[in-house]
């Protein structure tokens, strides 16, 4: 059984790498955007964990989306059981959230304050939401292409708008303020996530059960 999980762990590291790359790009663009000065670099650096969360959220959304279209048929064609594919997908998602969060914490440690730690649930929720959203988008695309494409367009317009907004501002304080604002709704966010995750997992399980392999 462990053999099959090697596949998912491989994608875990790839997702973290893609998330980190997206974060690095945003970080560099911010540096250029604010015409880097030494006085501001510490402010930009402080924003790095937030970029990492956003980059990873984008990567998770994309890979969870792609899993339904590519990775599930691929692993089933190679002899995985559906149960292994389902559990592997869950482990991959949780693993990516844990590794990304740990990386963010490691980056924050030097400058962490009590307020920073309070934002932790918000990061985790954003990452968890990204998994469910990406997976639901993949399921929608698989069954109703139009709905899947519509969800993608709306999501990427939203993400693009947010990134543009952050890049224009540059300072990490914007992230802190935004995440702090989101933190006030963490319980509602948590309930919404639980609902979306339950829907996603139930539908994914059902879809896998009836899935036919086509490569």
């Amino acid at each position: 059984m462990a053999r099959g999980y090697r596949f998912w762990f491989r994608y875990l590291w790839q997702t973290v790498a893609v998330g980190a790359a997206a974060a690095a790009v945003m970080f560099l663009l911010t540096g250029v955007g604010i015409n880097i000065r030494w006085v501001q670099i510490s402010g930009v650096l402080a924003g790095l964990p937030y970029y990492l969360v956003l980059g990873s959220a984008i990567a998770l959304t994309m890979i969870c989306f792609t899993t339904h279209l590519v990775y599930f048929p691929l692993v089933l064609s190679l002899g995985s059981t559906r149960r292994e594919a389902f559990l592997g997908f869950l482990l991959y998602r949780l693993g990516t959230v844990v590794v990304t969060t740990a990386l963010c914490l490691a980056l924050l440690l030097p400058t962490a304050t009590g307020e920073t730690w309070q934002l932790l649930p918000v990061w985790v929720l954003i990452l968890l939401f990204s998994c469910s959203l990406g997976s639901l988008m993949g399921l929608s695309y698989q069954k109703l292409k139009f709905l899947g494409i519509l969800m993608m367009v709306v999501l990427f317009a939203l993400v693009g708008g947010c990134v543009g907004f952050f890049l224009a501002g540059g300072e990490a304080q914007i992230f802190v303020d935004l995440f702090a604002a989101l933190g006030r709704y963490v319980v509602i966010g948590g309930i919404l996530w639980l609902l979306s995750a339950a829907l996603d997992l139930a539908l994914t399980h059902l879809a896998l059960k009836h899935r036919e392999v086509k490569l």
Binding site: F7, T66, V70, L78, T81, V213, K214, L215
Partner: protein, 290 residues
Amino acid sequence: MKLVCNDLVKTYGHKNAVDHVSLTLEQGKIYGLIGRNGAGKTTLLSMLTAQNPATSGTVTLDGEPVWENRRALDHLCFSRELNVSQENGVGAIKVKEYLRLASYYYPGWDSQLAKRLVELFDLPVKKKLMKLSKGMLSMVTIVVALASKAAFTILDEPVAGLDVVARENFYKLLLEEYAATGRTFVISTHIIEEAADVLEEVIILHQGKILTVANTQELVDSARYVSGRAEDVDAAVEGLTVCHSETMGRSKGATVFLKPGEQIRPGCDVTVQPINLQKVFVAMCGEEAH
């Protein structure tokens, strides 16, 4: 070890793509699965390897269900035809990556053999699957099938797109592997005559149903093509199993299968010819097949 399917059905809408198929595949044989386009070959093979759920019926390996059974799946490999033109993203995977992923899932994966085959076929491992020609994609599926070392290895159209030299190489490799390991191979193919010498048993599938499962040589030996004037042909084959006939003006041709002890009626003014596996297949599955 036996792979058995019992009363297997796969329904799409109101149509049975696979229609109450029962089949036993024994270890240490090379089977050929032949049938026309849309006969249900890939659907049947997909269900045998638990890649598609069956509408009804069972598939077992040594008595154990194959569906969701890791132990059983460890002995099965279905190297399916890669169709990367579809917008499903598998084409974005590099050859090297695809082979690595395959190595994760097959417990008996032979890396050395995979490497040797990649070199033999001169496969560009750094290229994405979508950048490969149809022939090269077939080579990738052959590498996976042979290197998997699975006891039951199924290849779906393995020679599609391969040139004649590559096809010869494939059959040679297949026989080498078969002789060395005694694995069971099931090959689905449309290039029947080339494969005929390699196939020990032939399974003919038509419109979702199995027409025959027979020893290839015995099937070919039992078939005759009888031609001549219509009334002479009718007299010669009277009482025999005629599976196909065609009339051209006053002439007629009929394909018959002779059971042990049977013969074409002597004394009739007809020509009797042996026929090859491809002709047998056409006779059984052609438009006017009985």
